[in-house]
Amino acid sequence: MSLAALDTAAVARALALVATGADDHADAYFEARSEAELPAADATLGLRVWREAGLAVRLVRGESSWLASRDALDAGALADALRSVARSVPPAFPAPAEAPAPDDEPPPFAEMAAFAGRLENALRRRYLAFPYRLATRWHARDSRVVTPRTASDVERERFASVDVRTPWGRAGALAPRLDDAAAEALAERLAARFRGREAPPPEAGHPPLLLRPGATAVALHECVAHALEADVLALSGSPLAADGLELGTSELDVLDDPGSAPAGVARAFDDEGNPTLRRWLLRRGRVAQPIADLAAVRRWGDLEAGSGFRADRHAPPLPRSHHLELLAGEASEARLLELAAGGLEIVEIASGTLDAATGELGLEIAGARRVRGGSAVEPVGPFRVRGHLAALLAGVVAVGAERAAAGAGWCAKAGQRRAVWATAPSIVVAGLEVRA
């Protein structure tokens, strides 16, 4: 699936004929992607494979933008898309010398098929057996962006996703590979759900919460990543006004760094062709830099692009996190459990929502365990955590010393579904409301 053969010089010349204004921006986005799904045994259809390729051309002029996308990767489709966005049509666009031909890279069918056994073994090691339906998916995407002056390298993303349906709920997971580590991590989450399936929910109140790395990743995705996206900040004024704002405790050092994402999903360029950067979002709890795309930079000036990501060629880029990192703190495991005494240990957050206008946060928890006597013991059933994002970030009383890569899951900002990643330690948060 190679876009390396793309005639970027010809594409750049053609884009220059579209971006005729002094302040115009034009780009062409090329993608080739494939997916494979091994569905649950009782599904209506067996192995599924999708292969697709296409392109999009965009022109940004002043506060207006035009996007034209096509389901083909050839000179004709490119010329057609260029004509659609051009405000004045030149006589002809220079055609790329050669259309890239997507490779026929086979998905790892054997690895997908073997995962069911790995998961079963991981559950048995926990002395668990229950009915579930497992579907595994493999995702591959190559993309490349060309502007009149630049051409990004080919960006390659390869990862797997898993969907498990049990009688007491549904769990999803992302992983660079479907290996033993992925099976163990998923089994641990399923175990937490299994233990909590018939347990009563915790009493309503404000107990301390020990969020394990996967749960920390989801909470920070909602409270830091979404909250610091330039378009979300713009709902209440200039994103620049957030600079230096004390959003959390001084324990919190949070970055978004697409380049340090797990192998297979790391990104050197975003979907607008800008180099990604190690972007400090919070330094010792204070806002350092919003997550910005090109539109935000054009509108607000003093921001840095590099975080414009698209769901696919038919969707416009938006400012989004790709790989969120919370730096390790100093709290040992024993200290974390001590601070969480009387509270709840949360291994996973089933889903999270942030009301962008009010900052109100909602987290759905499928199951947890009470923390007593220096360990997590008795399971509790499903409950919700509510509060303001500032309350969560200001309520972090300890950050663990051990970090783990944790797939934060699928993010569906503005209806555009993308895999997002995280590396985080456990944290202890006080002051959030728990209710059934």
């Binding site: 209506t44 067996g46 999708w50 996007l67 389901d71 378009d231 509108r299």
Partner: protein
Amino acid sequence: MSGRFGERGRELLAHLRGVAGEVEVFEKHGRSRRFELAPEGESFGQSVEAGWAVRGGDGRRSWFVGGSGELPRALAPPPATVPGLRLPPPSELAPAAPPSGLDTPLLTESEGRALLAGVARELVRELPDVRPPHLRLDEGASEWVLASSRGVAAAGRGRSAALRVEVARGKTRLAAEFVARAAAELKPLALARRLADRLLALSGGALKGAGGTLVLAPPVAARLVEAFAPRLVGAGAERQLADLLGRDGRLGGEAVTLVDDGADAVGPLASPHDGEGLPAGAVTLVERGRFVRPLTVWWESATPSRAFGCARRDGWRAVPRHGPTQLFLAPDPAHAVADLVAEVERGAYLIAAEGGVRVDAAGGELSLPVSGFALARGRAAGGLGRCRLRGTFAAFVGGVRAVGRDLDFVAGDGIYGAPTVVVDGLALVADGD
């Protein structure tokens, strides 16, 4: 694209003749436009989409391949895995006529811009203190063709438009969606009035005095139909309805007739064929309160070649899924909406759903955020503020007293419709209670 649409499919079917079992080939072409108007600027998107899907297999194993662009003339199927494949036989039923309006051109850039600007302008006229809204209009048209080794051959066209609006007035915010077959059917003044009504309803405080009879406008009643629909699907439906069915097979009042009809021309996704190429048509599930039959797949029918199709296929990437196509509570032409509202001595008129229905794990209790007005002697008596409609499915289907003539649809996992409904037995509570 080279060759006539569908020609390659027949060629590929011939090429795959040696593959074990049956094969089905599906091709789809489409074009869509997106117009967006927001305080920070405007954008215009235009997509040309083309894709195909092939599925094959025998009674034990099956496979599926989908791709963008032109259908290949030859294909190496991936490894087949369980389960087996079931492809329908050719139908003996005649397909319905396609709905009207499919030939209306998609909006041009200037027409789309004018529609959105018109909604924004009329909204300010209705409520001068409203903040500039964020509007997004998607409109698309498509055509598809399908052929199978069992002899099914069908073609169809589709058309839909959706306008999404996010707007705020003071501390009151709402997100709304309006669907239609073509964007030209969306009228700025009417939309602006509906949005203004919802903003006023959400900012009121008349919930306390709003007990009694509830009048549910189509967008509210249709969401309840959507939440109830899973109980009507599949051969096991009667078991799923056991707690609601009386000994006489009665499920609800005389005013309750539920129909699934993917070809009903009023529905925004009306099509003569379903996603497997079978003719779509009316299947009455509940008639005048009495359970008639569940919605079943062709292979569950005693006469598969005379069964209406109920497979949804959302695009070339999607595997056909069986379920409700356009499921609706049938309207009653005898009742005008104004008369239904005027007859309410004390109650509430719920005009919109402000979120999705939440059904508890046991499946009995439902809860839906709504907006509306208190009613006193048939007249609006103040906005209710943020509130929830609560009750049980038994109370809903058993409490319907009358339905209006104004059938309308909402989009969900399928298309669901209802007219205005007068219902007893459901309760209104403040949001957050």
